[in-house]
């Protein structure tokens, strides 16, 4: 048994033992859970995939004369921001696209540039064009503003993602006879390919499946800087069926995360275009798991072969919200490059970069070893199964005239 406080003392003294969520697997195989739990203080996880509910807010500073963008409009490189806030605070969502983007009018749409790309451009240090309009008030008379902005000049630039880091995710396939374009990529007709999106045995919430160490207030690697878990993510759902090892067999837990965008690096925050679907942001996240006891380590040492997910048809079942699975596969099977569905061998593709996830877990490991990253105590737990917290569909009700 160890406490986070004791682990932090070891970090400060340079005596901490840190391994990645991949390395811990071999270590347990070699030495067994008990010995490994004694030796290891922290296990670092990592993930690097598209996370659509990402965004950033900015305070751009006041112009002379003053302008109240709140209630007006604001665009960054033609991408519209949310302005329903105070005078010079704006929020940019990762999936926002310019008003004149053709979208899916020419199908499948290309979605060349949007919110995710603006965030990456800002993080890279590029100047971004801001255009704002306002209605003008006695105290904020200006009605138009056009200027270049740079992240270094903004008062605040904060990444705030309301749902990231999905604990498990379905595998998408297409049973129809034409190609379809989804957020899990292009799916060729008649089971032409099977796309998945998880770092599997490196993924943070899969390595602490019942949220025993990861909670609200946990300090994390976020986009190359440090951030915090701010809350459970939207659609957080601890209620899904789990295997004996506690790992959910469906998409379940999620995280809301926050961090200073100014510290982040463009190699860990990448704006991407999903053909026929839209724009999003690929976010690199790494969560440290303090090895408080044997059970925590045992969970952190789970391998791809013991993590299962469901295969879902995205041509009909997913859009129509029909809950059905074409079968269950492990991440080991998915990573082999092909899986069998309905007696057909189907090639697999991952939308989440395992090699980048590994890089993130290594980077976080080196920060902790160097003493640059001290662990934080969660201030509140994420809602677990016992909380009753769940994810409900929309109850549509007629609107009476």
């Amino acid at each position: 048994m160890k406490t986070i406080k004791e682990i932090n003392e070891k970090i400060k003294k340079g005596q901490v033992v840190v391994v990645t969520a991949e390395e811990v697997i071999d270590l347990v195989r070699e030495k067994g859970v008990r010995k490994a739990a004694e030796e290891v203080d922290v296990v670092t996880t990592g993930t690097f995939g598209p996370m659509c509910s990402s965004g950033a807010y900015f305070n751009i500073g006041h112009s002379t004369p003053r302008i109240k963008i709140g209630g007006g409009t604001c665009k960054l490189n033609d991408v519209p921001c949310y302005t329903g806030l105070a005078a010079v605070d704006v929020f940019l969502g990762a999936t926002a696209i310019p008003d004149d983007d053709p979208r899916n009018k020419v199908y499948p749409g290309e979605f060349k540039y949007g919110g995710g790309h603006v965030i990456q451009d800002l993080v890279s240090g590029k100047d971004v064009r801001l255009e704002a309009t306002a209605y003008g008030t006695d105290c904020y008379p200006r009605k138009k503003l056009e200027t270049l902005i740079n992240i270094k000049d903004l008062n605040e630039a904060v990444l705030f993602n309301i749902r990231n880091c999905y604990q498990n995710y379905s595998v998408a396939v297409n049973l129809s006879n034409k190609p379809i374009y989804t957020y899990l990529g292009m799916l060729k007709p008649e089971l032409g390919n099977a796309n998945y999106c998880s770092a599997g045995q490196l993924s943070p919430l899969l390595k602490d499946p019942e949220y025993k160490t990861i909670g609200i207030g946990t300090k994390i690697f976020l986009g190359g800087g440090t951030g915090f878990i701010a809350w459970q993510g939207t659609q957080h759902n601890p209620q899904v069926p789990r295997k004996d090892n506690g790992i959910p067999q469906f998409g379940s837990g999620t995280l809301a995360v926050i961090g200073d965008l100014k510290q982040m690096k463009s190699r860990y925050l990448v704006g991407v275009s999903m053909a026929g679907y839209g724009v999003t942001l690929v976010v690199g996240i790494g969560v440290p798991i303090p090895v408080l006891n044997e059970q925590v380590l045992k969970n952190a040492a789970v391998q791809d072969k013991d993590i299962y997910t469901q295969i879902v048809d995205y041509s009909s079942d997913y859009p129509q919200r029909v809950a059905s699975s074409l079968g269950e596969v492990s991440y080991e099977q998915l990573k082999s490059g092909k899986i069998t569905i309905k007696n057909k061998e189907v090639p697999t593709g991952n939308l989440s970069s395992y090699s980048k996830a590994l890089e993130i877990s290594e980077e976080l490991k080196s920060w902790i070893k160097k003493g640059d990253f001290i662990l934080s105590e969660p201030v509140a737990p994420l809602p677990g199964k016992e909380s009753g917290y769940s994810f409900k569909p929309l109850k549509e009700r007629p609107v009476k005239p």
Binding site: N193, G349, S352, S355, K356
Partner: protein, 135 residues
């Protein structure tokens, strides 16, 4: 025997000529059309895999050049922008030529340039747009 993948570019005046037919008839070459298109300016573009005896292949290439067809080997055309690629691997099952594969050890995506048939399927589905075509 040689077998090479080449990109042929035809000018406006050549689009209606039976050039590929002559490759078969006069030079005894086999061909497999990997891609063909006529651009809005009525320039033709064709990606062929040509195989046959080495001397016939060379004569065939001479003939194409003498007609005014621009020729270049295919492998130069599709390139990966290494800076942009995140090694996710969503392109892997889409590539019909198995030119994009995952290294089982490093889990990085390897691009076998020589296997590429320049179908360009990867170009539009690559999320960070790391696959580029240079004609």
């Amino acid at each position: 025997m040689v077998s090479k993948r080449v990109v042929l570019q035809f000018t406006h005046s050549l689009v209606d000529q039976p050039i590929v037919y002559k490759l078969v008839k006069e030079f005894d070459l086999q061909f497999n059309i990997l891609r063909a298109s006529v651009t809005p300016k009525e320039e033709g573009l064709m990606v062929l895999e040509i195989s046959g005896k080495k001397e016939n292949f060379e004569k065939g290439v001479e003939y194409l050049k003498s007609c005014g067809v621009k020729l270049q080997p295919l492998s130069q055309d599709v390139v990966r922008n290494e800076e942009k690629c995140t090694n996710c691997g969503v392109c892997v099952p889409i590539c019909p030529a198995e030119a994009l594969v995952v290294d089982p050890k490093t889990r990085k995506v390897i691009f076998h340039n020589k296997k590429c048939i320049a179908c360009e399927l990867c170009i539009k589905i690559c999320p960070p747009r790391a696959m580029e075509v240079h004609f």
